[in-house]
Symmetry: C2
Subunit: 499 residues, 2 copies
């Protein structure tokens, strides 16, 4: 498979030449003169319609981007990903998160873990799981950080309308003691379960919080109470999890990266909240997207198009950031989730052959839920000096008052239009004019539910993978964070020696 720099590809140079035609107000002119753009620059995925007619490109650019993907051997890389080959070469592992949602085709250990998760989740949801003093568990406090936190946090919040009323699920991720303290302020130790998630069971923040949880339980329960029924561990290190005193241990595997682990037992707290059936729908949605990614022709393949549009904006039109604007309160945590997924996966500067790259890789991914951001940073999107490409994410159906929902939908459409078309009425003073030609895409889902949430997350996973292939980097390691950990350890040891 191709591990040469992408800049060697003929398509790369062709794209660089095409980009010259798309600076300035070319998009505005194209929108004004070509009524067929909206039909031609769009694609259908499972449960969703994707339009990129408001991006700075035409079909010729799209075709050249597809040529670039072919020159980078994307189909072969994709097959290797989906087959569970060890494409994470710096750690000698597969990145086989797609196996977690393969249903009846999943590996036996995955199916067995899913059965165990379902059994435990149902016990919690039925009120049959009792704490040390015989009270039913009513609150889960999930302790994890990064990839062991952001996924279940997002799912629980996104699907809160279908969550169990009996079980409350909270999260603490920071080693700042106030993060956990605030979650425990009104909790009853007799009715609280901690789900401790750490692949190695040595993550410093998570283990410090788990120890604090143990102290809090011991102080709140009878002196002779066993703490085992108050701890579920999710870890690849079963021995350490048992030694810690967890009553139940759910497995993790080294072939699943943290930021791709929501589909595994890392999602246990989310399954407990929304139920095993809804969690099954969530996995099925991801599977839908895997099949689409595997089978759809590249020029109609939504994750591939999303990836190629990102490459176009970053490498050819100079975008430094990518905004994600879900018009849905339930997806307010999506920007933080994608921040990890994209920036930790592709925030790299050394390619697969060990060369420093001579081109930009991952942009800064940021955003907030609409309409909230409109009253905050949208000023810069419309009138700032840098171009920020936007992904609008909208849902045709979602719960709640239809009148306010119509207002919400109108604003999403109006923002995309305002960014693209601008306002250059010469009768207005200069400070009131907006330049337009600012690029955005819109992902329109039929409805906000577990299945489409699975599709949405898997869509961005495959986007990130595709960009890693184009950029010739390994999207599945994160060596850049090791130095900070080492220095913190040294500082703490020095402080301990001094005292």
């Amino acid at each position: 498979m191709n591990t040469q720099p992408p800049t060697d590809a003929t398509a790369w140079n062709a794209l660089a030449a095409l980009a010259e035609g798309w600076r300035g107000d070319a998009l505005k002119r194209a929108l004004a003169t070509d009524a067929t753009r909206a039909d031609r620059l769009a694609a259908q995925g499972p449960g969703l319609h994707y339009t990129f007619a408001r991006q700075r490109l035409d079909a010729a650019v799209r075709d050249q981007l597809v040529q670039l993907a072919l020159a980078r051997d994307l189909p072969a890389w994709r097959s290797a990903l989906l087959a569970g080959e060890a494409i994470n070469v710096t750690e000698g592992r597969p990145a086989w998160h797609t196996a977690l949602r393969a249903g009846a085709s999943a590996p036996p250990e995955v199916q067995s873990a899913q059965s165990q998760m379902r059994r435990l989740a149902e016990r919690l949801r039925d009120g049959a799981w009792l704490g040390a003093t015989g009270q039913p568990i009513e609150r889960i406090v999930h302790l994890g950080t990064g990839g062991s936190d952001l996924g279940p946090r997002l799912v629980v919040d996104a699907l809160a309308e279908s969550a169990s009323a009996r079980l409350r699920v909270d999260f603490a991720a920071n080693v700042d003691p106030l993060d956990l303290d605030r979650r425990l302020r009104d909790a009853d130790p007799a009715r609280t379960l901690f789900v401790v998630v750490s692949k190695t069971f040595t993550t410093q923040e998570t283990m410090a919080n788990a120890q604090a949880a143990k102290t809090w339980l011991a102080q709140g329960l009878r002196a002779d109470a066993s703490l085992a029924p108050h701890f579920v561990a999710v870890s690849a290190n079963v021995q350490a999890a048992r030694a810690f005193g967890a009553g139940e241990v759910l497995p993790m595997w080294d072939w699943v990266g943290g930021r791709y682990s929501i589909w595994s037992a890392v999602g246990f707290s989310a399954m407990a909240a929304i139920g095993a059936d809804a969690f099954g729908e969530f996995l099925a949605g991801a599977r839908d997207m895997d099949l689409h990614f595997a089978d759809a022709p590249l020029e109609r393949n939504v994750p591939v198009l999303l990836a190629l549009l990102g490459i176009w904006n970053v490498n050819f039109l100079g975008a430094a950031t990518q905004a994600v604007l879900p018009y849905a309160t339930p997806l307010r945590l999506l920007p933080a989730y994608l921040q990890q997924l994209e920036m930790e996966s592709n925030g790299k500067r050394v390619d697969r052959a060990g060369r420093s790259v001579a081109y930009a890789t991952a942009p800064v991914v940021w955003g907030a839920e609409g309409t909230v951001g409109q009253h905050s940073f949208h000023q810069l999107l419309h009138q700032g000096t840098q171009i920020v490409p936007v992904d609008f994410i909208v849902f045709d159906e979602a719960p709640g008052d239809p009148a306010r929902r119509r207002i919400l939908a109108a604003h999403a459409e109006a923002q995309a239009e305002a960014l693209a078309r601008g306002q250059d009425d010469p009768a207005l003073p200069a400070y009131r004019r907006t330049p337009g030609s600012r690029p955005s895409s819109t992902l329109r889902f039929e409805r906000l539910d577990a299945r489409n949430l699975g599709r949405l997350i898997a869509l961005y996973e495959h986007k990130v993978f595709t960009q890693g292939v184009i950029w010739n980097i390994n999207s599945f390691d994160q060596w850049g964070v090791e130095l900070g950990k080492q220095l913190a350890k040294a500082l703490l040891e020095r402080a301990r020696d001094r005292s």
Copy 2:
């Protein structure tokens, strides 16, 4: 006062020349060879120590940046700001938020509003404020968006440890009906007060939510109950607020911009949560920073230095974004607050003379609380292809378990060190090396309390103002968001006509 482009200044060209010496690994070399950097590239502000020794500059650059500020007439602009002159020229108004924290020197209408706020807040905190059915109010739901939301939301969360246990304060800002619905799920209408904040009392999202609140109350209370004791309005439009049915109306003034309004009655919900004394400390902290900004020599003036470092990174070293990383769970909303403050204020492309600017203005401001971000996007900070300047914000004292607090502090220091020094051991494979020379500043506060929170927010306000002066833009309007509002209105009208 100077309204010429900053690029005309001699200092601008001098800085452009100096910047050539600070690309690549110059910072790493400077740190290795100059032991006095940490002392010389630092300043003291009220309650805080600011160090910028890990930025890509030396004293010569700092001095030239100060020359640029002088060439831009910063002292004269600063006097105009603090004197309440109409420096917001496109709207013909002052931007006189500093008057709101001037204590005994504040205008009479400000002092009178503060007395009214204190009286109402104490009634709520004492349980003396009764709803329509005679029950005491126990929950406040704050309805506002943008500048009428982010400030009180930040203060209530940041100072939660000193908040009233009797009163719960929630926020809903989005027109997505689920935002408010989720806040009301477990609320009791008889004990719930809505604080509706809108300068014009016509903000679409806020008024839609206020109407929904009215319906919810009417359904939950006796048919003949008056809703007046369940609504406080904060608005400059007293007539509309009364017509809506608010029992109490607190004033706003057109000389206070939304994103600078936390010091006004917009902060009422925060005062109710933390008490009038703590809110007074918060105002006093901002006043401390106003006096420091007014009086400290530019080369030791913390908001001015923060602003100049931003200019250096954006305009001379090419940074497109600025990360804000508070190592404190209570400040997890600070990045969102500063996103509005900086991007809405300075995300502009037309200067005070109506010219399109030929230089970059506000960067994208983003971030998350440490250590949470370390397990997410820090990979890109250390090994990505773009340079992201970081503001670390740390506190020597804060509540909670000292052991975890030490870990937190060690990580903040270790991240700054790792970014600056890197790891270039040739024995390591290329993918494990980090380049270093990545810039950061550290703001170290003595403790996390109301006074220092006031200082911190006012610090960034004056930073933003100073940058607006350098960039020759009006930081106090937001005309860029008007087009989107108009288009949304047109879309809604068209849909109404069709149905």
